[in-house]
Amino acid sequence: MADPVLRVSGLKVNFYTYDGVVKALDGVSLDVAPHETLGLVGETGCGKSVTVNSLVKLIPIPPGRIESGRALLHWPVPCPHCRGKGCGTCGGSGKLDTCEACNGRGTCSACRGHGRFRDGKSCARCAGVGKCYACDATGKRHVDLLALSPRELREVRGSAMSMIFQEAMSALNPVLKIGEQVGESFYYHQREALCRATIARLEKEIERARGAATGAVRIVSLRLYLTLYRWMLNKTESRLLQFLRKVPVVRRYHRWIEKEMEQRSLEALRKVRIPAPEEVLKAYPHELSGGMTQRVVIAIALAGNPKVLVADEPTTALDVTIQSQILRLMQDLKAELGAAIIFITHDLAVIAQIADRVAVMYAGTIAETAPVREIFKRPLHPYTRGLIGAIPRPHQDLVRLSEIPGNVPNLVNPPGGCRFHPRCKFAKAEVCASEKPLLFDVGNGHLVACHMYDQNAPLWTDEDRQPRVEVVAR
């Protein structure tokens, strides 16, 4: 696998409620490769949404708290010296993409990759491994999402990582027009590009006004606007500009950038194949159907050109025919954009159709990850086997669906050891109840968190390890 764009490791999240501490995530580790679609499946309450929401701190804190873990996002930024044009500092690429800690070497900056110092002491920063801690030995520029300040986080949200939420209707503001909501995301995530385009337009307009000799007043006001936009380009969060937007007459300067926003919103709506986008821009969310609002939400999520797009059950509330339209749209857009997608759903059928790789979650832990064909052909974890056997199939007559006995555990007092052991028919009291299983690599990019697949586990036979899904077909 290529170097991942996003590597989550050991993510642990608790919620401190009056009923006790909900141990929502217990050491979740995930890799997302560039351009891939990772399907995150699991039942309600297994922590799928908490995982992605805690990456961009969208979980309520408090009661939530991110106890430990890291989430390294590969994020090259435009070179600050040349603003992306290409200069000596960035080697002509216009982008800064070397790890600042190790200067691109990928080795630990404290011990220079030896893992221990000359006096024989083990290096504390890299835990004796010698790899760069900040970039995970890739030498590329990474940020730890979980350690960002609120201000940096705001830059990441929407532009490096954006989200499509399940209920499109509640993701949109009911009192704002669609155009305002789509435009807004451009305003906050692509202000620089917007300013540049506006400045170019203004300059052209000034040229025109000069040629036509329509009056010096207009030229003066246009010049004034031009100054304001140049200022905005340099200081994107200027308080004065924010204030000027509220002053009558002066606030007219903002119309120029609004025009630009509208233009881009139109393009964005066209990209998600909305018919008659001009009318949709002027509509309120309630005037659109469920499928259309979901398309609008997708357009908003794509506005910042994200590297990682998180789709949190985007089709669950939709009908099958509309669901297939949205899935198809996402497949097409993925090919166009080249963003990595984390696709969250509880529907394995959708996963089978859209994902490249699958991570199965159970009660706040990753049970199994594998490429999609592999997981359906050789499901190893007893939970995955049960889950695949429980799906009713549209092209097969089944006599009986296989069941996973029992209920999802309460995460205030989760079962010790493997969290699935009370429902597992292969569980052995000796290990499963006491030791948390690690992710064992069984080849083919297939990782499974089950003691059964430990190399030296004598308690199970090869018969148990057979990837069998119990389906009784007629």
């Binding site: 039942e43 018919p275 008659a276 099958v320 859209i354 009713p392 199939r393 549209p394 009986r400």
Partner: protein
Amino acid sequence: MMGEEPMFRVEDLKVHFPILGGILKRPIAWVHAVDGVSFTIRPGETLGIVGESGCGKTTVGRALLQLVKSTGGSIWFAPPADGTPSAPVNLSKIPRRKLRRLRRSIQIIFQDPTSSLDPRQLVKAIVAEPMRIHGLTGLRCTKCGSVVPIHLERPGIACPRCGATTEAVPFKGAQLEARVIELLDRVGLNPEHLFRYPHEFSGGQKQRIAITRALSLRPAFLVLDEPTSSLDVSVQAQILNLLKDLQREYRLTYLFISHNLAVVRYMANRIAVMYLGKFIEVAGKGELFDDPLHPYTRGLLETIPVPDPERRRELALMKGEVPSPVSPPFGCRFHPRCPVAMPHCGWEGRDLQKVLEDAIHEASPDSPLSGAVAEMQADGRTLRIRIGPDPERSRAALDAFLAEGRAVGTPIYQAIEETSQQGDEFVISFRETREPELKEVKPGHAVACYLYE
């Protein structure tokens, strides 16, 4: 005897909801939720109804119980008395009091168990309430005092424990509780759950409570209205298996309503596909899935995602969205979205209006079509177009547009009966068609489509 006489015979069922408006709050329009549906349900079978949201499938289920009053048609129900069906009654005509007594044998399980259970009642009270209301009697042994369990209950049966005679007693006190425990045990809940409130349970458990409540009256017929759509797959499997087991044990008849074709395939014997208030195809489940006839059914089967990455393919698309049931399309209701529509499928003014609007929208500003239309008004089978400022040019542009469509062979243009000019209005009228009827084309396989007439 069983299997021949249908338990339900529904004829031309119609349920229309008024849209009230104006100062007097009079109906200004009607939502045609169910618009002429006929079917039968035989004892012991499961009829599945599938369709997209808003197609009226839930309303059919509710109308069977008369939870919504039907506006037309009749629902003949043969209440089974002691295992043998008696004379059928028309549920839409009988008085309320009689209906209430009949409801004992027709029960419903709703989609959302959270809102169908009273949050302020204990589980015990929830399950016992219907038995108390209907004054259900159980059989008690005259000698040892034990109550005959539900699956053995038959009039005049001897006590299974001691062999003495039994007598009918109304459920009260300890016996009531024993029966509730017995029922809860059957659906996989424990006596410890008796004194809890609904919010203390998970979704699957709540649905089990709802099933218990419906079963407590020993019904013959259950309407299952998307009972698993709010549940997870693994819980869904548990509930579906439970429902299948219960059907066998208590000889129940089901009407299973769902939008999920895979789930319906697992549960039902026969399946009806519904679209905009009409049944468009009814067939045995094998027939329907192996040889779907209606273009809508075919489209539906192609759009569902299959849980098998080996069978991955470009998801087929069905164009557009479900039209409003306030004024459903003429002719075949599916014709605006149908990939194989023909000229006589019921094309009308608003279809052409939409096509023209799109064409004008896409036309370049200097093409003759862009200024040709000032205003359009669709009125049933006709489309009135107030043409643009240059009548000659506009008329020619429109004529050319229609001729081009006709030449390509698009059915909508071929359906045009005549075009005429009245003043500055250009009137296009379509040919008259009727709605295709649900006809049996193969034994046990009925479809409503002109392709098969």
